[in-house]
């Protein structure tokens, strides 16, 4: 008698949710910082000050601090958002990588089950 078992739960299925959640966290963080930090600062800096005032801003002034925020933050925020995309892709790749083992098991199960299906069944009643 053959011994067959259903496929064991692959380790990838335990790990992939972590990467999916990480993807959501990074992308949401980028969206929140963009919406609540960068957008108001950009509107306030560019839309609330004439060019002459902006250009004349001295060291230590709030205007220069705003300029620093709106120019420096996107340099790390955009890569963070793309790290989120990469995390989603790792999760997807992990899921795909679990399929071959499941299909191998499916083949083994079918190999022993088909003779029995022919022997016991063979009809196509619903």
């Amino acid at each position: 008698m053959n011994t067959i078992k259903p496929p064991v739960s692959p380790w990838q299925m335990k790990v992939f949710p972590f990467f999916t959640i990480l993807g959501w966290v990074f992308i949401s963080a980028a969206f929140i910082v963009g919406l609540f930090v960068l957008t108001p600062n950009t509107i306030s800096y560019l839309g609330g000050n004439a060019k002459a005032v902006r250009d004349a801003a001295e060291f230590g002034t709030p205007l220069l601090a705003q300029l620093k925020t709106i120019t420096a933050t996107p340099r790390w925020l955009e890569p963070l958002a793309f790290l989120g995309v990469a995390s989603f892709m790792v999760g997807i790749a992990l899921e795909f990588s679990s399929i071959p083992a499941i299909l191998k098991n499916r083949g083994e199960v079918m190999k022993v089950c088909f003779p029995l299906l022919r022997e016991h069944g063979g009809n196509n009643e619903s």
Partner: protein, 240 residues
């Protein structure tokens, strides 16, 4: 073989799923159009604008070739990236649709095999998991967000962007004073990408989640069917 029909609007989604090839092609064509706009509109506009000294191009009056080129490049930059991401979104949607079709076919095959088992050894095929609905809705949400972003991009490209840039930089834009329409418009023109770009990725996140969940359904279906076959095997061999 009897496969239960899904309720509205899922029946519509499921009916559309096999046309993933057409959707993928549409996404690819949209990205191709973005490339062509880059080559034939954005590139030449940039080249025209930067073809002379800073003092000349910034001093050019409204209606001149320089100002027109400046308007064209800013218009293209307002809608083309959103259009491109919409194309990518359609590509990702096509992947989810293909995975959904695979899951559907696997289920149909499972029902066929179960129907070939003798009645006394036959296990009932469980209803499709709730995850199916979640991945369908997640995909729809992602595409709708990308479509919304594209609409916002078009509204900006036809409204505030040309309205602001269709002025001489040196004599109108730079001297704009606090409280003027021009300075308010500058605030909008310079800030929309700060929230619109992450929003695009937010839409993509829904699509990636759709792919992830569709794969979970396929893997779950494969494991469940193997489990049903093992159960049948054990019962059939015990029965002799």
């Amino acid at each position: 073989m009897k496969v239960n029909k899904s309720p509205f609007p899922y029946n519509m989604i499921e009916k559309m799923m096999p046309s993933f090839g057409r959707i993928a092609m549409m996404g690819w064509m949209i990205v191709l159009i973005a490339v062509l706009v880059g080559i034939f509109v954005l590139g030449p506009a940039q080249a025209t604008f930067f073809s002379d000294a800073k003092a000349v191009r910034e001093g050019a009056a409204a209606g001149s070739a320089f100002v027109q080129a400046n308007v064209s490049r800013h218009i293209a930059e307002a809608w083309v990236p959103q259009f491109k991401f919409f194309g990518l979104g359609l590509g990702l949607m096509a992947i989810v649709m293909a995975l959904g079709t695979i899951a559907q076919k696997l289920r149909e095959m499972g029902i066929v095999i179960t129907n070939h088992m003798p009645k006394d050894l036959r296990s009932s095929v469980p209803a499709p998991p709730k995850t199916v609905r979640v991945f369908q809705l997640s995909t729809l949400m992602g595409v709708m967000i990308l479509m919304g972003v594209l609409v916002i991009g078009i509204v900006l490209a036809t409204g505030v962007v040309p309205s602001y840039w269709n002025h001489s930089i040196a004599s109108e834009l730079n001297p704009a004073v606090v409280g003027s329409t021009l300075l308010t418009q500058l605030g909008v023109v310079a800030s929309f990408s700060k929230w619109l770009n992450p929003l695009r990725l937010f839409g993509m996140a829904f699509l990636f989640t759709g792919i992830t969940l569709a794969l979970t359904v396929i893997i779950g279906t494969l494991r469940l069917q193997a489990g049903l076959l093992v159960k049948f095997y054990q019962q059939a061999t015990t029965k002799g």
